[in-house]
C-alpha cells in the first residue's frame, strides 16, 4: 500500500525540529532513517499529518569518545556503528548486536536514534543499551533531559519521550579492562527480529563474575533486565548455581505468545541463552553442555 497524504518539513536545526513538534503535537512524526516509520505509513498503521525530516541535522550524526563515555549521535546509521573502530573498541556489545539488525540495505539508512525511539520490544539495540547502562539524551522546548536506558523504554513502541522531544544522542560507559560481553538471539533468518535474544555486559575477575547485566529482548513489552544475574555474582559458578539462576530466570520472565513462539518455548530459549552466556563469559563450555536447563 501507499502512505496517505502528509505535509513535509525539512528541519533546519534541532531547535527548529522541536518547534515544529511542539506546534503540531501528536499529528507530527519525526523522520530519521525511515526504516520503521515508512513501513508503518505504507501499511497505513499510522497516518501523520506532518513529517519532520531530521536527516539534514549533521550535528546529530557521529561517534565520539570523551573521557570514559562513548557518545553516539541519534542520526548515526546502523552501518556506521558496524564499521566504527571506536564502537568496536569501547562498546563491542553494540558492534556484535548490530550485525543482527536487519539487512545491508536497511542498515544503510536505519539510525540508532530511530531504533531507540521506535522501541520495538524485539529490537536488538534497546536491550543492548539497557545492558550497557546507557544514558539517553533528549531535547525539548524546556531543554535537555538525560534518561537512564532502563527507564526510557516503557512499553511496546512506547518510551519516555514527550511528543515535542527529540532523541539527540546516547552515551555509554566505555568498556574497562576486564569488561566482557555476550550477544545472541534466536531468529528465523539472519537479520530478522529475534524470537528471544540476550544482550549481556559483565565484569569478570579471574573466574568470578563481579558484575552482570542480562538484558533480554522479545520476552516482554520492553527490554527485560533479569534479576537472575545476582545469583551468579561473586560466587564460583557450579552447575548447581547456574541451575538456580536458570530457575529464577524462568520465574521472573513473563513472555508473550505469538505466531513465532509459545510462552514455554520462549522461557526455554531464554534459559538456553543464559547457560551459553555464562559459559562464554567464563570460558567454560561445559556449563552450556545441556543439563543445566
Amino acid at each position: 500500500m501507499k502512505a496517505s497524504a502528509f505535509s513535509y518539513a525539512r528541519a533546519t536545526s534541532v531547535v527548529n525540529a522541536i518547534e515544529l513538534l511542539a506546534e503540531h503535537g501528536d499529528r507530527a512524526k519525526v523522520l530519521s532513517g525511515g526504516q520503521s516509520l515508512m513501513p508503518a505509513m505504507n501499511l497505513r498503521l499510522i497516518s501523520p499529518e506532518l513529517i519532520v525530516d531530521i536527516g539534514d541535522l549533521t550535528e546529530l550524526r557521529g561517534i565520539a569518545v570523551t573521557g570514559d563515555r562513548l557518545r553516539i549521535g541519534a542520526l548515526t546509521r546502523h552501518v556506521d556503528l558496524l564499521n566504527s573502530a571506536d564502537v568496536a573498541k569501547h562498546a563491542p556489545l553494540i558492534s556484535e548486536a548490530i550485525t543482527h539488525v536487519a539487512h545491508a540495505a536497511i542498515r544503510n539508512r536505519g539510525t540508532i536514534g530511530g531504533s531507540l525511539a521506535h522501541a520495538d520490544p524485539a529490537a536488538e539495540l534497546p536491550a543492548s543499551m539497557v545492558a550497557l547502562k546507557a544514558t539517553i539524551i533528549v531535547e525539548g522546548p524546556a531543554g535537555e533531559r538525560q534518561i537512564a536506558a532502563e527507564d526510557f523504554f516503557t512499553g511496546i513502541y512506547e518510551t519516555a519521550l514527550e511528543v515535542d522531544e527529540l532523541l539527540v544522542a546516547v552515551e555509554v560507559p566505555v568498556a574497562q579492562r576486564n569488561s566482557a560481553h555476550y550477544f545472541s538471539e534466536f531468529a528465523r533468518r539472519h537479520g530478522d527480529y529475534g524470537i528471544v535474544g540476550l544482550a549481556a555486559q559483565a565484569v569478570v575477575d579471574g573466574d568470578i563474575l563481579t558484575d552482570l547485566r542480562l538484558a533480554y529482548f522479545s520476552v516482554g513489552d520492553r527490554p527485560v533486565l533479569a534479576m537472575a544475574a545476582t545469583k551468579l555474582l561473586n560466587v564460583a559458578v557450579t552447575p548447581a548455581v547456574l541451575l538456580e539462576a536458570s530457575e529464577t530466570l524462568g520465574e521472573e520472565l513473563d513472555p508473550q505468545e505469538d505466531q513465532q513462539a509459545s510462552v514455554s518455548m520462549r522461557r526455554h530459549l531464554a534459559k538456553v541463552l543464559l547457560a551459553r552466556c555464562v559459559a562464554t563469559l567464563l570460558g567454560r563450555p561445559e556449563l552450556s553442555a545441556g543439563e543445566v536447563l
Binding site: 515508512m38 513501513p39 505504507n42 540495505a105 544503510n108 537479520g191
Partner: protein, 161 residues
C-alpha cells in the same frame, strides 16, 4: 492542499529537477515519473528487496525513502548499472546459471550482489547468503543465485568461473 516539494538530483548520471508530493516514495518516482521500471515494487514495506537501488553509493530500499528526501542525492538504478556495463558479467552469470525465472527479484538481487562484490572480492557462500538475506526470490530456491554471485566473484579475481 499539500504543497509539492522541489527536488534536484542525479539519476543514472542525468540531472533531474522535479516537484513531488511528500507522500511519493522513491520507487514510485523512478517508475512512474521517470519511467525507470526496472526497479520493482513488491511489498512496499522493506521486506522483499525488489526495489533496491543505490543512493550516494549505498544500497537502499526505494520503497522506504521519500522522493522528497533525495534532494541533492545521486541515484543509480538497475538501468544505470546495466547501461554502464558495470554488472554485465554478473548478468551473464545469472543467465548462465539459471539464477532467474520470472525475473521479478532480479534487479534487486543484482544491485545487492554487486554491492557485496564491491566490498569483498572473495565472499564465501555464507557471506553471499547473508548479504542477500533481505532479498526474496519466489522462484529459484536461491542456490543458483548464490552460484552466479560466487562464480562472478571467482572470475573477477582471475580464479576462473
Amino acid at each position: 492542499m499539500i504543497p509539492a516539494v522541489s527536488i534536484s538530483l542525479q539519476v543514472n548520471g542525468e540531472r533531474i529537477e522535479a516537484h513531488v508530493l511528500p507522500r511519493l516514495n522513491l520507487a514510485d518516482f523512478l517508475r512512474e515519473h521517470l519511467k525507470l521500471t526496472g526497479t520493482h515494487v513488491g511489498c512496499e514495506h522493506g521486506v522483499c528487496g525488489a526495489c533496491t537501488v543505490r543512493v550516494n553509493g549505498d544500497i537502499v530500499r526505494s520503497c522506504l525513502m521519500l522522493a522528497a528526501q533525495t534532494n541533492g542525492a545521486s541515484i543509480e538504478t538497475i538501468e544505470g548499472l546495466s547501461d554502464s556495463g558495470e554488472i554485465s558479467d554478473l548478468q551473464a552469470a545469472f543467465r548462465e546459471r539459471n539464477a532467474l525465472q520470472c525475473g521479478f527479484c532480479t534487479p534487486g538481487m543484482l544491485v545487492t550482489a554487486q554491492d557485496l562484490l564491491l566490498q569483498e572480492a572473495e565472499p564465501d557462500r555464507e557471506r553471499i547468503r547473508e548479504h542477500l538475506s533481505g532479498n526474496y526470490c519466489r522462484c529459484t530456491g536461491y542456490q543458483a543465485i548464490v552460484d552466479a554471485v560466487a562464480s562472478t566473484a571467482r572470475a573477477r579475481t582471475g580464479r576462473g568461473a
